[in-house]
Amino acid sequence: MTQIKYMLLVSRQGKVRLMRWYSAYDSKERSKISRELATMVLARKAKMCNILEYQDHKVVYKRYASLYFICGISSDSDNELLTLEVIHRYVEAMDSYFNNVCELDIIFNFTKAYEILNEVLVCDGSMTETSKQAILRSVMTMDSLETSDNLDQVLS
């Protein structure tokens, strides 16, 4: 079992593209964490370990193309390898949804990226769904509801 404290998505240029907080942090702490982690993780070489200690917890990150997926987890109770798997599941789901996801897809469809993340992790940071098909089915159901809602609105 793993319970993620936060997930950040940072570009190679150091810009935070997505952030989701599953533990209570005030805005000052949030900006401090995202600023410090962006610098810290971006400075690491490709062959360095993907797990590092930060403040009172651990940080697990993985790079995909020009994006770094960074997760904060509890030092004692959470599993680092499982966290890497959670990140990978999330990336796979986005990859299938967007047809080879890139940074631009996330910038222009950030709400979709959040929706997919919501299907992977629930509000306390624990994993809710591992099946990529199930995740995509839920997101697509939401899409069709949204489309028919828009259609109703236009036709009304």
């Binding site: 400075a43 193309a65 299938s96 967007f98 940074e103 631009l104 899409d143 069709s144």
Partner: protein
């Protein structure tokens, strides 16, 4: 550097209190041999007789396109160029650039380049524009490279090596493709952006890959707005019938 670069005020600033960042500056070292190739590959412009400003270059991605000016410059000494670029006289230029790219080789002892880039980092970087260094050669020790990358990173400057191929495990693009990706993800001012609808790029579930649903929705919205704005009468009903016929062709 005898730049000759100047800002075309009539286009970028006139009528707006805020300056639009619609210029990309690309600067080449004299040692770079394939300048024409790089310019053409990245921006699709030809380096005619050392032309310094290429106007109205259309940058297109699957989500938007934007019209920008490409400013081309060159230097023999990065130190001198940096000093001049950081000069307050060029404040106006720095305020309208969307980003800069410096193309140069790194060979052997790179102390001078490192010093110049450190200066550049402190005076000509901002979160408002992108900054990248394209290294046509990177023949330095691993430690020097790591140091250089770290130094540049502090100023949010990305070091891109001009190399062929990519690390398939990370799915990362490199070289000129990465430079293009950096420009793609630049935060352009909304007034500069013209959005395009990517067709069938996203799996929109039940919509089906061939149905231009977004297009139909857009047309419906436009038609509804126009219909509501028209005065009641025959012309309004004719317009409604015409739109119904047009849209039924999609269904």
């Amino acid at each position: 550097m005898a730049t000759g670069l100047y800002v075309d005020e009539s286009r970028s600033t006139k009528g707006w209190s805020e300056k639009l960042r619609d210029k990309v500056l690309i600067v080449f070292s004299d040692k770079v041999a394939n300048r024409e190739e790089i310019l053409f590959e990245v921006f699709g412009v030809e380096d005619n007789a050392g032309k310094q400003i290429h106007r109205d270059v259309v940058w297109t991605t699957k989500y938007y396109n934007v019209t920008l000016d490409v400013y081309v410059d060159s230097f023999s000494s990065l130190k001198d160029w940096t000093r001049e670029f950081c000069d307050p006289d060029l404040d106006e230029l720095r305020e309208v650039i969307a980003g800069w790219i410096i193309v140069l080789p790194f060979n052997g002892n790179i102390d001078e380049e490192t010093k110049a880039l450190t200066q550049l980092k402190s005076c000509a970087t901002s979160k408002d524009f992108f900054t990248a260094i394209l290294a046509t050669e990177l023949n330095v020790s691993e430690n020097t490279r790591a140091f250089l990358e770290y130094e540049l990173l502090e100023g949010a400057i990305e070091l891109v090596q001009d190399e062929v191929g990519s690390d398939s495990e990370l799915g990362e693009v490199s070289g000129l493709d990465r430079v293009k990706e950096i420009i793609d993800t630049c935060e352009w001012h909304p007034r500069l952006l013209r959005t395009t609808h990517p067709k069938s790029e996203i799996n929109v579930g039940s919509a089906g890959a061939d149905t231009p649903l977004i297009q139909i929705m857009g047309r419906l919205r436009e038609a509804r707005t126009k219909y509501m704005a028209m005065d009641p009468g025959l012309s309004r009903e004719e317009f409604a019938s015409e739109m119904a016929r047009e849209l039924s062709r999609f269904l």
